[in-house]
């Protein structure tokens, strides 16, 4: 077969336009232009900043991280005292950002699935309820959601008149008070049993699949697995004489002592993040299910597969391809948007590090850089996982 060289050597020289329009050189040409522009801009920014810092007699560097921060933080899930360093503040901020993102992501995902499926319901009331929710929530800016719930939570009763649930949970205008678990002797065994249960359930599933493929016999692997994960730790828990006690919150004077407290700002932020981001999750789920054509279901039914098997083997695997990418970018948005916490004083990374620490130490460039580094690390990790997943499930086309 003769290979035709489209841009083979020709008589005479080639004009500049000819080279740029050659598909072999075209992309290289643009890449060179972009690279030159980026290097020039970076060089300009760095030298300019260095000159300005020098002119004002300021130093750049990360030594400040080891000096004492000296301010207190309203709430943190890891131990912190005002005598700790700026680096400790950084870690506290990260922990506080991650903990709210964690709960928000879990609640968003679960609620999103429910609302997404509800929106597809043939039931008039359920469908319109879900549609109404989506329309109302997404047409209000997130900051407004946050301020709304924060303001509303200020109207909760004072500690003395807290809303209580069975002398264990208390909600008032300072926050939510919950029992704090205190692991007793041997509680570690229970934790280990949970891990063993999970491993055993996984093993049973693998075994059951192998056996079914080999012999065609079914095994209720799911329920046995649930039994193992729940049953083993429960047995250990009972056998060891219930090695777990709780410290209950109780009203002392004007406030609660004991238990664990979750500040009002946390609750308001969590509420707002979940209600707002659920919408995008729900839309992703709805779009995913709709992306699987009706013909797929019909083909599956005509092969004798029951609706539940059709859902599991045909519809969900295909729908997930469309659901997962927007779902994961929604997770990233939850993490990033949790930084709106500054508006209501929840001590997240931006609030404790980019505000208080920056104002005190003046190391703007380093601090902004470190905060950016954190958000970028989280986002890039999540998107790396997403790319891996996409590659795994990509439908093979020609």
């Amino acid at each position: 077969m003769a290979v035709v060289d489209k841009a083979g050597p020709r008589k005479g020289g080639r004009s500049f336009t000819e080279i740029v329009n050659d598909e072999r050189y075209r992309s290289v040409f643009y890449q060179v232009i972009v690279a030159v522009a980026v290097i020039w801009a970076a060089n300009y920014l760095i030298t300019n900043t260095a000159e300005n810092l020098q002119a004002r007699g300021m130093s750049a560097g990360f030594e400040f991280l080891t000096s004492t921060a000296g301010f207190s933080i309203a709430w943190s899930i890891i131990d912190y005292e005002p005598g700790d360093t700026y680096f400790d503040v950084y870690l506290v901020g990260i922990a506080n950002t991650l903990i709210i993102s964690f709960f928000a992501i879990i609640a968003t995902t679960l609620l999103g699935f429910v609302v997404g499926v509800m929106r597809l319901s043939k039931n008039f009331i359920i469908c319109n309820l879900a549609s109404g929710y989506v329309e109302v929530m997404r047409n209000v800016p997130l900051l407004l959601h946050i301020l709304f719930w924060f303001t509303l939570s200020a109207a909760l009763p004072r500690p003395k008149n807290s809303l209580g649930l069975g002398d264990m949970f208390f909600l008032n205008n300072r926050g939510l008070y919950v029992p704090a678990p205190i692991p007793g002797e041997g509680f570690g065994v229970v934790v280990i049993m949970v891990l063993i249960g999970i491993a055993a359930a996984f093993g049973v599933t693998v075994w059951a699949t192998r056996r079914q493929m080999a012999t065609g016999q079914r095994f209720p692997a799911f329920w046995v697995g649930v039994g193992l994960v729940v049953g083993l730790p429960l047995l250990a828990f009972a056998a060891l004489g219930a090695p777990l006690t709780f410290d209950y919150p109780s009203l002392k004077g004007f406030n609660f002592t004991g238990g664990a407290d979750v500040p009002r700002a946390f609750c308001a932020l969590l509420f707002a993040l979940v209600l707002y981001h659920t919408v995008y999750m729900a839309e992703a789920v709805r779009a995913g299910i709709l992306s699987v054509s009706h013909g797929q279901t019909e083909a599956s039914y005509s092969l004798g597969l029951k609706p539940s098997w059709t859902l599991r083997l045909v519809v969900i695997p295909q729908a997930m391809r469309a659901v997962v990418p927007p779902m994961i970018s929604n997770w990233m948005n939850v993490v990033k948007n949790s930084s709106l916490a500054v508006a209501i004083g929840y001590p997240d990374l931006v609030a404790v590090f980019m505000q208080t620490s920056l104002n005190q130490s003046g190391h703007a460039i380093e601090i902004v850089g470190m905060v950016m580094l954190f958000y970028m690390t989280v986002s890039l990790t999540i998107s790396a996982a997403l790319n891996y997943y996409n590659k795994l499930v990509q439908i093979k086309e020609r």
Binding site: G216, A299, S302, L303, G304, Q318, R321, I395, K396, E397
Partner: protein, 264 residues
Amino acid sequence: MSIDTQLPDETVHVASAISDEVVIELASVNKWYGEFHVLKDINLAVNKGERIVICGPSGSGKSTMIRCINRLEEHQAGDIIVNGTEMGTNIKNIDAIRRDVGMVFQQFNLFPHLSVLENCTLAPIWVKNMPKAEAEKIAMEYLERVKIPEQAGKYPGQLSGGQQQRVAIARSLCMSPTIMLFDEPTSALDPEMISEVLDVMVGLAETGMTMLVVTHEMGFAKRVADRVIFMDQGEIVEQNTPDEFFTNPKSDRTKLFLSQILAH
């Protein structure tokens, strides 16, 4: 529309294998879409081994009728009995009928996330509790029957339309159905691929399979059908052997229809 698709040895009719046993019975079946009366008092009995071609203008209810036979559509009045099982609202009965009846669609409807082989083994493994190795062996046999065993590891998106439709036929056959329904299996195909699918269907007819085929491929009808049914506006207008049907149509509607499709 290609009327004179080249089939091997077109003049010879595939030997009939009709038995006395009635395997599908539609008795006074009626169906409405809202106000629209789509099936009007359909009566039809299909014998075991019989091959029926159904034709008629677009919108006449051909698809709707055969889709009622495996309950992809629900009828509102009348009885449908398949292999002695009455199609009521009983889920067990519906499942039993669907296991016995295979269907091939105009749009193939292969599962794009599964390989060709997995498409063929999915139902045998999950519906018939068949060991995977056995299901794969059977699947390979059918893929050989439809002449594409070498594509077993590929995904539907990597195949041509004709190849996809042959996989769809093999996938249905893997459940060893006793009845096969075809809803315009070649209408979405380029002309050069139509005959490869029709060849497979002729081969299937030679095995004595009971077949109901909605198609406008009149060459196929002449060669394979024991009976041609003409539908218009939700009714069975005329039914006859292919010879009589094509040379001596009785109703004016049939004549008009035949003149239209043969004029192409």
